[in-house]
Amino acid sequence: MSMHNLVRNNDALREQLAAEYVLGTLKGGARRRFEGWLHDDAALRRAVAEWQDRLTPMAEFAPEAKPRAQVWRGIEQRLNLAARAPAPGWQFWRSESVNFWRGLGAVASAVALVLAVALTTQMSQAPRIDYVATLTDDKAQTALLLTADSRHQALNVRLVGNAPVAADKTLQLWAVPKQGHPRSLGILADRGAVQLALTSSAIGADVALLAVSLEPKGGSPDPNGPTGPILYKGNWVRAM
């Protein structure tokens, strides 16, 4: 019988080895052998995790001490965290997990459809709504509803929430493609609805994300993308 089998069938020994592995007194060849067994022994891995939870809180017995500010600056630099700050906006958002957006999409599209119906019933000549999008803030609250009306070549944007915009600021809508610079779709009204022209730059197949940024009055001074923070984001879903 191999050593591992011997250990497999001896609960007391397994516990003891797991405890001493975590404590650190298991050393040298015995430690390496134990680590080898961990690979194909899930129960042993669990025993180690349990001992870690039992013993590691000893770390807190050491008195707290404050590291100098340069420690965080070093971390920030090494991980290039400044580039992940929300300011530059669209690069960061585009890199976010696709799964998150998929998950959100189902909920958002249901909300969007309900809102789209509410919106369209107010219009005289029946539009043909091909796509809808809800843009949400960072707390997943719906802030904007977009509908793409191919009959009128219109992109209707309605602010759902009531987020005040400072007098010297403007909300700007962008389509962020999978490759290349974000494309401006237009400036939004501070409240209520606005109708923009519906072009292929808005609903092209390459559009990965719709985003609204906060810009100086009159819109982003940079033709290649937003300069202010991204406030809302979302994506198109086919209406029917």
């Binding site: 650190g24 870690q52 939870d53 039992r54 809180p57 590291p67 965080w72 991980l79 992940r84 998150f100």
Partner: protein
Amino acid sequence: MPSDVHSLDPQQLRSWLQGAARRDAAAFRALYDATSSKLFGFALRILVKRELAEEVLQESFVAIWNNAGTYQSQLAAPMTWMATIVRNKAFDLLRRSDATAEIDGEQFDSEIMNALQDPGATPIEALQLSSDAQALAYCMSALEGLHRQAIGLAFFHDLSHSEVAQQLALPIGTVKTWIRRGLDRLKTCLQKRERA
């Protein structure tokens, strides 16, 4: 920064860790603010020298960011996971640099361990420990002084049985038995508290 008990709420730490896994720099910063003093204190206890402890803290948070996606919340408490990273990095540095941290068993036993011998004299709650650490402190305070010291020395200084024996000027067989017995009792005590 006095880390208040709420900032070490495992739920909160877990959600910041998950944020870091999603590459959320703000969540990562919040995690650092809440835990860095405790983790730095821990690194300092192992390494004694501030510069070494700061190097290890930095290395550790880089690893925490890089590995946050692999953190399994069902396996380990967030503080356990992070402190294990700090401990491994600190021991790695010691081995790499051949630096020998001063081992002062007396100092180790004084501070908190002494306070723990009579939990009534220094309320464990007043030491700002997480609930896991409070339970462990309580159970360690029920061990005999030398058993507790043997376990503490091994944990903080990466010592083998024979090194612990040397430190305590005791035969290795005795130390082995004490540590084993001590660990057994800790497990029983912690399980009892969990059920209570």
